[in-house]
Amino acid sequence: MDSIFDVLIVGAGPAGLAAGLYAGRAMLDTAVVEGKGPGGQVILTHEIENYPGFAEPVSGAELAANMAAQTSRFNVTMLNSPVEELKLDGKIKEAITPEGTLKAKTIILATGVTPKMLAVPGEEKYIGRGVSYCATCDGAFYRGKRVAVVGGGDTAVKEALFLTKFAEHVWLIHRRDSLRAEIINQKRLLEHPKITPLWHKVVTEIHGGLKVTGVTLMDTRDQAVSTLDLDGVFIFVGRKPVGPLEGSGIHTDAEGYIITDENMQTNIPGVYAIGDIRHKAWRQIVTAVSDGAVAALSAAEYIQDNFQEDEK
């Protein structure tokens, strides 16, 4: 007979790892299943300076590795497999993977988000040849080069600042004339001698030969077209939710983020959603781990209330 976990967590970013830590420490039979390595979006971040407990900035990769190690201390099973489908209508919930079906009394979804593409001509063609979605990974290849960052949110601003370590000059291309980033980083960006913001501009095409040589820009106010010669284009135009939700019966908002109550429970009892996949105002590492703790404690209570009798 297949084993039935008390808590099955889908996704091993900060939210999923925190839920695993709390569930494991509560002596629940817990598994975390993840199709990629642990860490989630955090590992793409060069430096994190707003996660409490670290007086000096910590790298995303290091923070993620520490979180995974901490969760592993509490007998949590770590499974490396992508979840393709969820079956949530029975009392025992099921997650289907290429390696088989995982069963659990409760499921916590922590599948997160993935970066959006610009969807312009040339973008896909030049991935790895001048188009990048990870400044931490690729910044060092642009030493002394001309690069642009597309976007005006937190990530775009932080990555533009990071790229100044390597690039000769950084242009920030944004379709509005104001940023939606933390004030401290906005100030750093606007005062930076190596960064030039290009307001009211959208990229309509990325061009080049074997590698990127530039972009075509259009002004959003008068549709004026211009070009900018570049060696690299870094794209940070937001993220979209990901997860095997189709046919699961889980309620989401119009954008696909999962709606929960304050205990992180979805419309299906015993099924929770945490971290960036959840419909909420602020997506931070610290809010993700908070969601994880709340969901694990809620799941423990749900198991107590709904399964205790069966096992007597």
């Binding site: 590992i43 990870c134 690729d138 074997l210």
Partner: protein, 105 residues
């Protein structure tokens, strides 16, 4: 464990190889490269005897990264008869990776 090779070993290990070779360009500070590492370990085991898999650390082997114009990591190049014939960029799950690599076996 997949072997990390140096520029001086590249000729022997990659260019002179009888089998096709997958070369993974990576670095320790690259998150997606770390994610890719266990996937590559599993893929290498499954490809045993059909394709060779090696790694190049771009920090230590700058000349190789420059020669093959690596601009993003992880980048994986497929070599056949000493020439690069395909380029895969970024993290991908094992099933996608194997589907792409099977075209070269």
């Amino acid at each position: 464990m997949i072997k990390n090779i140096t520029a001086s070993q590249f000729e022997q290990e990659v260019k002179q190889s009888d089998l096709p070779v997958l070369v993974d360009f990576w670095a320790g500070w690259c998150g997606p490269c770390r994610m890719m590492a266990p996937v590559l370990d599993e893929a290498a085991a499954e490809l045993e005897g059909k394709m060779k898999v090696v790694k190049v650390n771009v920090d230590e082997e700058v000349s190789l990264a420059e020669e093959y114009e690596i601009m993003s990591i992880p980048t994986m190049l497929v070599f056949k008869s000493g020439e690069p014939v395909d380029m895969l960029v970024g993290f991908m799950p094992k099933s996608n990776l194997l589907a792409k690599l099977n075209q070269h076996i």
